[in-house]
Symmetry: D3
């Protein structure tokens, strides 16, 4: 069932998810490669940074549209989590508040949640780091939230500049966060793997001292554009 | 003695400080819990970030009101430090300059200073990290400062959006920085410990797989607000 | 040969570089000291941050003036690298795109490149960290670039607010990035070493508990300015 | 026909548009009222500001997904304009470049275009102001663009944080920019007019000196929450 | 009666205000002069900008401490307004929401309110401009707010980096916003008028072609510092 | 005589300036056209905005390298002004302070100064607007400055990301600020006029309803790149 972006007060309980093998394959490829493989689309804004270095994951998005400074819907969303999901929270108005901390992470992790992407703040980051619960957020801020106003769960959201549908695949690592349409994930994985194979060949040539100018045969085109060596 | 915010050219030598046990107790609780326990007030702006991860401290504020790009008053303030204090510097006009580095940290640490909170820049961060001297700052920047214009020491300051009186308790960790009024610190500690005890119970329930929806008895109120499951 | 800032479509192949011993000496001193020693000039903007902590380098600048979101000129620049150089990329219009990743780093490292300073984005930061290839950048972003438009290599550039000529010495560490004119590098090194020697003496006095107020003989001047102790 | 967000290289020629009377009605109501009437959704980011004050328009969106710093697709989009449309340009990567100036405005205006919403830069703003061609943009910047890479026209775009489908109604005035789903526009207009009628009544009561506390009957609820008068 | 910064749920009904002649005098002097006259303190952050040019006012502050994205307390505050007051709203957590529009302005104006200073957003700016109701705000944004959570009225607040007590004098014009302690206002006015008189003399000399170098007798001190003419 | 960027304590008294007819010609063309004509270089950062709309000027740069929050050098620079010059101030460290107000403008205007470009703050903007003294600045802020530390006058400076040599031509209007090398100004003017002539022809064709797709013969190249109409 399809619900419009911005719908308030709805929880969609049954969403389709990708095959786990596709998701795992996308995690192996990482954000930069997946983003290139799908035609340079799907990146969230560059201000979305991990709370600690080294995590690289892919997971199915359980989306949360939340009012500013109100984290009530996270509790609602956690019930909808299945093993291998990731929470994706987009506030309906800009907020830096710390919507999420170690208690919510504990609850989410018990249900198999692999992390959180949030276009707002997060707190308890030392605990989250110790738990190995990765978060990509706009900021870190201890500011508390209220539980007063409804949002929605598993509706399409615009998060940090990217449209995320429930069930889309989120790929996240130290380079940022990328969303892959569920329907396109298998195709994107194929292209990403081809890209990786190609990069392995290129890497060997670079390591052997060849130049990109020659590997990619750029000299003629540069000269045609008028590049002058002095 | 009380001196107004913004007073220039004054050093207040005798300030009252909290009992050390209260301060240590607040350190144990950490920023997020203390901030909640005192009614969600007292947070400095979210751009105040630690130069390295993992430090969690509480200390009595020795405040510095300093002109932009002028660190002269830090030397004056260091003489006023007692064991267990923290320096809190607020420039009187926005500045990114690096007011503080490893020499000043050496001098402050000798006098028992536990760290620095500065709404401006800091430098020599590699040395400070090796020394284990924690700093929460607006930025890291090597830009030097001058010693030309007076400010004040131990007057009330507005630092990163929060009013800090000399002798107030500063709590700081990876989630940011929070100020607790000296007069309220004992009461806040009591509430923070109660909050921690409550969280320990909740954590066990979350770990056992219970949902926040049930632990906090939210389902009825959500339904009353009109939340619809589809 | 001198080429104006902003010249498009030119690669200067022979640039003068500093003596390696001078460069190594500047690396030992670090950004904060070198910046002070040359009269507080030469710092790049404070938003230029390292992708990992702990690197401290100095190297000769091979400069790149690149169109926004177009990394073609990096391939051209790599051919111009000599052992001990650093790439310095300034886009001709603001850009957050990820111009540089692990393949380019592999190629640059093979030719002896010590790192990258880029007033734009970088990606593959986990790989770069594992390689030990340091980068100071405005942001981390996976966004890809094109190879369509000419820029220049080894022309003067304005990078993050500082003028960088090819062959100038770049000093970079956790405090940021500083540029030293090639012609002034030997003189700056002398002043930086003198400053370090002086700081070692001061550090010993601070460690012994002396105050800056006394070490720098500030009390009289503070009193003359009207500082009042209450 | 529906094309996914992020599709590259496609021009959708036939899009559905709202009835002109509905569009005109939404213009009369303005951004703040329309945004409230549709449940507080649809606002573009607050950094989207008009180049001059006083314009208030509504129009059907002809969307442009454009590469960073490349305005080629605007020429393609202008051919798709019908009387009463507005151009909505979202770059695929953040850009401040000046994609649009007086020549393009001349061409668009000839075809009945009512303005431009662009999550990037605009230039020739003095000419545009004299022409009475309103633009809401992220910035004003003279930086030129290239014509090298394809984007798309009339595909869904995420512009300044909001999803915009071709044919959706854009309402824009001094308070910012709001998008109304084409399918919801008639319903939203009804609610907006009801809201306006209600506001007219309220305004008269405010002008007569009544307080919101009484008009909205807030005193009891405030007291129940614990508000104390001292 | 004094209430601490950050107190929640309190309305202080009787506040002291300055003599109207003093307030009017400060308005005549304007922000830059008043700020200088009181020792360069009291400025709110530079991002606080007027919604239209040309207003210059001074007024007694009726302060509002409001939760993020919740404008309930404005209704409470309006009841506390007396002729010649200004509303000063500081959110307890950063917010861009549009707390205030033409209906609230109508209500406030009826009670003699001279304007609004708000460290958040404002909307209906076209109407406010037509009404001649000046607002200095962090941003303009149509985003609506809720009425769910208590704040306080006439407690001290930190607004855009400055401490504002109820009854302090707010001076605001095209240069920004400055707060003057109520107790210091008469003294500051005296200094500001002296400064204005002095500036009138200086202006005449400048208009006659004299240089600041001579008027302020700077040449000797510049030479002593080592300024060299080449 | 040539002085390096960053030289402190020097006033260069004799600088070369462009022919006035060339300068006037560049003013007629405006920023966007001049920037394009010289190969899309020379723009200052997009945050440099005019304090009022409608000014369009060109003038010879008298440059000021000033310490942060210290406006002493402006007095020195004013003595160096000749009829038709513009002041260009670059702080040596980021600053928002209000370096310049109506008294300095009076003094500068008496000497024939046409305006100010400042990568910092300005104040007294209402007076400056009434005087018709245009300023392009990073911000408007009443914050005062000191007169303690030397800078330089008429040395090369990096201002808002662009290198400006004394005597270079500054072109500034509502689109921003552009610098033209003095040596290149005549050539750039020629190209700018050619560009204007060409634009006049294009404008007539656009007004007649022709499309850019046809005027610039783009259809074939778009098709070759794979653009698809659906």
């Amino acid at each position: 069932m399809t619900v419009p972006v911005g719908t308030v007060g709805v929880v969609v309980q049954n969403i389709e998810r990708c095959d786990q093998q596709i998701i795992d394959g996308l995690a192996d490829c990482g954000v930069a490669t997946v983003h290139e493989a799908q035609g340079r689309k799907g990146l969230l804004a560059e201000y979305m940074r991990p709370i600690y270095s080294g995590a690289r994951i892919a997971a199915s998005a359980v989306t949360i549209s939340a009012p500013p400074c109100d984290n009530w819907m996270i509790h609602v969303a956690i019930e909808q989590l299945k093993q291998g999901d990731i929470l994706v929270l987009a506030p309906t108005s800009p907020s830096n508040a710390g919507y999420f901390g170690d208690l919510l992470a504990t609850s989410a992790a018990v249900r198999g949640c692999k992390g959180l992407v949030i276009n707002a703040g997060v707190r308890d980051v030392r605990d989250l780091t110790e738990m190995g619960f990765p978060v990509w957020s706009k900021t870190v801020f201890a500011q508390g939230t209220v539980k007063e106003t409804l949002g929605s769960v598993n509706v399409p959201v615009v998060c940090a500049g990217a449209l995320v549908n429930p069930g889309d695949v989120i790929v996240a690592d130290d380079d940022g966060v990328c969303v892959v349409r569920r329907e396109e994930a298998e195709d994107v994985l194929g292209k990403a793997r081809a890209r990786e194979a190609n990069e392995a060949v290129k890497r060997a040539r670079f390591e052997a001292g060849e130049l990109g100018l020659d590997i990619y045969d750029m000299r003629g085109r540069l000269a045609a554009k008028g590049l002058t060596y002095v």
